[in-house]
């Protein structure tokens, strides 16, 4: 048998570099910026852009773990309910006299626990898909929030708590700094570590991953727990922005988050996509919404525009002409 030489150096390919989904998002963001700037004199203003960023970043925390979940071919539609439950728990405990720091810890703990429960259910009941499990827990978690607070709102948080949602460090929104830290951490976890590689493996072929010694169940539980934790982080910031909490906060966040992840090029079908794409999508949608809001586009037109954007952005790479075998995982 003749020994075969198999190279392990990859050639740099322009085509491969240019045909990356993320460029499309960058281009779209540039278009949105150009368009918005020409439509509204208020758009290209550092203060405004900065404050707009504070406005849409709250749900972006959930986008990060949702990338992992969708990459694994799962989905979590209970995240918004987790936000509500952890926020309501925090507010309720605080209004019953628990120190704010403790209440915040409990908030994070509750979110993490909810995520863990999701993960355990999904792992222990493999015959149920994650859609079903999280559909049920979505109703249950928010249901508990209603039981806790009934028709009340709880709030009157200490002054400093508002800092989370409304203040700056230097001239940069605090929430943006925190998001940047989390984004880098999650990006590193996904792209640079064994954990992330395993997530991709599970998304592509869970059976083969298990046979290869990947601890599929444990990874799923960890990822869903992370989603719970990050939902609680969102709860902290959102509650700070609202100054109070109610059982119906964050309604509809799950779909927005999923839309951002998918717009970011993450595909459930093949375990493909990157963290940067989802992050770009957060900013794309955020600034688009903000810009259209500045020129007071009606809510229904906004709905139509966002819907079409999602469709077109996902449809463009499917056009034959751009189809290429070169696609990084």
């Amino acid at each position: 048998m003749e020994p075969r030489v198999i190279p392990n150096k990859q050639e740099w390919s322009w085509r491969g570099f240019v045909l990356q989904w993320e460029w499309l998002l960058v281009v779209l963001i540039l278009i949105v910026f150009a368009l918005n700037a020409s439509l509204s004199e208020f758009f290209l203003d550092y203060g405004n852009l900065r404050d707009a960023t504070m406005g849409f970043l709250d749900k972006a925390f959930i986008v990060l773990p949702m990338v992992f979940i969708i990459l694994m071919g799962d989905i979590d539609i209970s995240v918004a309910s987790i936000v509500a439950l952890s926020s309501v728990t925090m507010a309720d405990l605080y209004s019953h006299g628990m120190p704010m720091e403790w209440a915040m810890m409990v908030c994070l703990a509750v979110g993490t626990a909810c995520g863990w429960i999701n993960g355990m259910l999904i792992v222990k009941f493999k015959e149920l898909s994650s859609v079903i499990v999280t559909l049920a827990t979505m109703i249950i978690y928010r249901g508990i929030a209603y039981i806790l607070l009934e028709d009340q709102a709880a709030g009157k948080f200490p002054k400093w708590f508002k800092f989370l949602g409304w203040d700056y460090v230097g001239n940069i929104p605090f929430i943006l700094l925190v998001f940047a830290v989390f984004a880098v951490a999650f990006g590193w976890l996904l792209h640079k570590t064994a954990f992330g590689r395993k997530v991709y493996a599970i998304g592509n072929n869970a059976t083969a991953s298990r046979y290869s010694g990947v601890e599929v169940d444990r990874i799923k539980v960890v990822v869903f727990t992370l989603a719970g934790f990050m939902s609680a982080v969102t709860a902290l910031f959102l509650t700070a922005r609202m100054g109070s909490s109610r059982p119906n906060i964050a309604t509809g966040y799950e779909l927005e988050v999923i839309a951002m992840v998918v717009l970011g090029g993450v595909s459930t079908a093949g375990g493909k996509g990157r963290m940067i794409g989802a992050i770009l999508a957060v900013f794309l949608i955020g600034y688009l919404r903000y810009g259209l809001g500045l020129i007071n586009v009606s809510a229904q037109s906004l709905l139509i525009i966002l819907g079409l954007l999602l469709i077109f952005a996902v449809a463009i790479p499917r056009l034959k002409l751009l189809r290429s075998p070169v696609r990084k995982a």
Binding site: I75, L121, F125, E127, L128, S129, V131, I132, V133, L135, A136, T137, M138, I139, I140, Y141, R142, G143, I144, Y146, I147, E150, D151, L255, I258, A259, V262, S267, T268, A269, S298, A299, Q300, S301, L302, L303, I304, L306, G307, L308, L309, L310, I311, V314, A315, R318
Partner: protein, 325 residues
């Protein structure tokens, strides 16, 4: 063997439903009255019609989040039509609504089948578009009872051979759907595409056409449901049935339709719809606190699917035990 399991599964759901009914009956004797049962079935008719379409979609490994919006759009269009020309026959109104639904479904079908966009994304995007169009078409107004001719409102309240029209239509839809999925080639191919898309391609099944068809059917049924909805409640709003898709999906899931595709039975979704219908009807009747209702609903859905899974495991185990080695 697996057919038996499926049957047992439905039996389990049935037992669950019966137990729950008995429980509710003990707390409120007016639960199992003819009138209440009639109300319950009438209120569940629209949900169950939508569940048929959703089952087909889920069988092909898809999901349709846009049905609430399609329902609203076609309901609104039909309502606008009858309010402009009150002489319009109810059948024409049904035709208009269903037509609009079909068009919405076709558009979605093209996106899913030929542009190959993941169903959850395509329907999420189109949900926004359809909902926006509903608001645009009505200019933010509602169409109210007094603007609708009686003939239109009678679609939902009238009856056919002593059966309420809604129930009659639902029965008809189920009969046709049963024949379609189990006795026609196209119907079976829906299952084939869902069960294994790759082999479907090799056996020469036009998967794209099947997918397109499925979303078109779903759209048509949503359109029909839209007219029925508007007629039943005698009011068309921009936010009609928002979030309703989750109830429909829940009905399918409770009825044993597998999100992984290829599996789903008409009898299953009947039971799933009935279970949800009972929940919606019974919770207000047993006088639980409004704040507990949501939790109880979610818990029952979770318990039902978990028990189902455990029962199935038990049966599998039992079958294994009996196997001779």
């Amino acid at each position: 063997m697996s057919a038996k399991i499926a049957k047992f599964r439905e039996l389990g759901l049935l037992v669950f439903i019966v137990l729950m009914s008995v429980g509710v009956q003990l707390r409120n004797p007016s639960f199992l009255t003819w009138e209440n049962i009639n109300d319950m079935i009438t209120n569940t008719a629209i949900l169950s019609i939508l569940a048929v379409g959703m089952m087909l979609v889920i069988v092909t490994r898809g999901i349709d989040l846009s049905i609430g919006a399609t329902l609203a759009l076609s309901g609104m269009t039909a309502a606008l039509a009858v309010s402009h020309s009150p002489g319009l026959s109810p059948l024409a109104a049904i035709g208009i609504g269903t037509g609009i639904g079909l068009v919405c479904g076709m558009a979605l079908g093209v996106l899913v089948a030929w542009v190959n966009i993941l169903p959850i994304i395509a329907t999420l995007g189109m949900m926004n578009v359809f909902r926006g169009l509903t608001f645009e078409s009505s200019g933010g107004k509602w169409v109210s009872a007094h603007q609708m001719p009686d003939s239109f409102k009678n679609i939902a309240t009238g009856s056919l051979l002593g059966i309420n029209n809604l129930i009659a239509i639902a029965i008809l839809v189920y009969a046709v759907a049963y024949y379609f999925v189990s006795h026609t080639r196209t119907g079976r191919r829906i299952y084939a595409v869902g069960s294994n898309p790759e082999s479907a391609a090799v056996s020469g099944i036009h998967s794209a056409r099947i997918l397109w068809l499925v979303y078109t059917i779903m759209g048509g049924l949503s359109g029909l449901a839209g007219v029925l909805w508007v007629s039943k409640f005698a009011s068309a709003q921009g936010d009609t049935a928002s979030g309703y898709e989750l109830s429909v999906i829940a009905a399918c899931v409770l009825g044993g339709v597998s999100i992984a595709g290829g599996v789903g039975k008409i009898s299953g979704i009947v039971l799933g719809s009935v279970l949800l219908g009972i929940l919606n009807n019974a919770l207000p009747m047993i006088d639980v606190s409004a704040f507990w209702q949501m939790f109880i609903q979610g818990a029952i859905i979770l318990i039902a699917v978990l028990i189902n899974a455990l029962v199935k495991r038990g049966i599998d185990r039992n079958n294994l035990m009996r196997r001779k080695i």
